[in-house]
């Protein structure tokens, strides 16, 4: 178990040693986002904006225009909400080479409550032209994704989590922007998942196997661009899709998959996620249960969809 934000902080330091153009910004949350690890080693390339997310993003734009590769971090709710228009105008519109790495995405933020749990950030960021939107599943994939976006020339929004999550990828997993990762073969239905819901889906697939149901698990760490070929192939080959994300069912992964399937190969879809509601205080596990994001809920969704096939 490792939190994706921990993998992020460590990988930033590694990148900082390799490339003097890497700069990091934060908005008074460097202990939580783990950018403090970079600050400790490269104080001259670390810029705390204070509690001023809009200015942080503007500074990132200027650093990028000045030839640096800035990574700007804060909680997902502030990055995608408070600083949205700065991300739109100062980063995405000019297609600048800056990365927004937003930690504390989704409801597993836990006790801080609904004000701090972003359930809409993927939808917001996905709607922006030029923007790449990523949501890795675990520590190893986060490390690979951070390296991949540092090497990619353009704006990126990457969502990470607060909670420790199971490791489901090999340590040396590769990450390619726009590429899905087939984690488990299956023929009866496909779980299309992102973030920590991928681990939940792998567990659900094991339970289903005992019931004689063969569930495929297709991890979509790259929500935009989406691996359209892999999504369509899975729909053709399994005939039913359950999407799962720690996010509203509106506009995020479920929305993206439905757009592709509606146009390319319509099959029954169940979207697992928050049903157009905000979160609340509680432990991460309690909240996952309360909002229907456990392996048991995915099994139920699979059983429902098999009846619709």
């Amino acid at each position: 178990m490792i939190a994706t934000r921990d993998a992020y902080g460590k990988t930033l330091v590694e990148l900082g040693r390799q490339d003097p153009r890497i700069a990091v910004l934060d908005a008074d949350l460097s202990g939580s986002t783990k950018t403090a690890l970079f600050r400790n080693e490269f104080p001259e390339r670390f810029f705390n904006a204070g509690i001023a997310e809009a200015n942080m993003v503007g500074m990132a734009a200027g650093l990028a225009a000045g030839g640096m590769i800035p990574f700007a971090s804060t909680f997902a709710v502030f990055a995608s909400g408070r600083a949205f228009e700065q991300i739109r105008q100062s980063l995405a519109y000019p297609r600048l080479n800056a990365k927004i790495v937003a930690t504390h995405g989704g409801i597993t933020v836990g006790e801080d409550g609904g004000s701090h749990q972003s359930v809409e950030d993927l939808a917001i960021m996905r709607a922006l032209p030029n923007m790449t939107v990523l949501c890795p599943a675990d520590g190893p994939e986060t490390a690979a994704a951070v390296r991949a976006i540092a090497a990619y020339d353009g704006p990126v929004y990457m969502r990470l989590g607060r909670a420790k999550v199971p490791v489901v990828m090999p340590e040396d997993v590769a990450f390619t922007i726009g590429r899905a990762n087939l984690l488990r073969p299956g023929t009866d239905l496909t779980f299309m998942t992102t973030g920590l819901m991928t681990a939940q889906a792998l567990e659900a697939a094991r339970i289903l196997e005992e019931e004689g149901v063969s569930a495929r698990v297709l991890h979509l760490g790259s929500i935009k661009p989406l691996d359209v070929d892999a999504v369509l192939r899975a729909a053709r080959e399994t005939g039913a899709v359950v999407t799962a994300e720690e996010h509203s069912v509106i506009g995020g992964l479920g929305g993206a998959v439905c757009e592709v399937l509606a146009e390319g190969h319509p099959v029954p879809v169940e979207r697992v996620g928050l049903r157009d509601v905000f979160g609340q205080s509680g432990t991460a596990d309690e909240l996952l249960r309360h909002y229907g994001l456990t392996p048991a809920h995915l099994v139920e969704a699979a059983e429902r969809i098999l009846k619709r096939k």
Binding site: A54, G58, M59, A60, G62, A65, G66, Q86, S90
Partner: protein, 275 residues
Amino acid sequence: MVNDLDVRELEDAARRLRVEVLKMLNMAKSGHTGGSLSAIDVLTALYFHKMRHDPSNPAWPERDRFVLSKGHAAPALYACLAKAGYFPTEDLKTLRRLGSHLQGHPDMRKTPGVEVCTGSLGQGLSQSVGLALAARVAGRRSRTYCLLGDGEVQEGQVWEAAMAAAHYGLDNLCALLDWNGLQIDGEVDNVMKVAPLAPKFLGFGWQVLEVDGHDMQAICRALDESEQTGGRPTMIIARTVKGKGVPFFEHKASYHGVPPSDDELGRALEHLGHS
């Protein structure tokens, strides 16, 4: 230091640039006249007196950077860039047309010489802070200049950036404020008072210089002075007149976002000694 001849040449350049601004706005049939004319003297001093830049090599790493945070004054910027040689003056006729590299607001991906994208007010000073930090990290002696509108400083982000510039001791950053006193809905004092401005920026830790924004010699002196600040960013508050140079446009908020008609253009050019 500027000698009198330089100042006279700059004044003459600013007069010609006003002509270009009015002609391109008249052809485009939309755009921001008042704020382009109030800013043109300051822009002229920057592009033809102060900044180190090379129009034949817009990507020269050591160049000084200019950010037009009040992006709606794009016509004034475009006139300067064309005169400097970044692109042919002929291109100014395509302002705001489909497919033109001269967008309604400045676009770094389309126009040679434009450093960032601006136009959504309040964001340029933050970008300038980033540019100044990048120059510092890379050990470049490039300076960053940023022109703000007075209505624009109603945006809270400007003050976030003002805090950051002072916090990081950015003496390679010089902002200028085009204080023409008018915004779209009327007088800045009535819409949302921003005065007094000098004490605000002083309180934020900036060096503040106040000049008549249409006195070329004073502008140039202030720009020179901005290079000796001892670890502080500089704010040059330029008192200006909206629509400056064309008497029937001056002091009128109604010409904020209105281009000159054919008749107004004729009379304006006559007034500017250009027929």
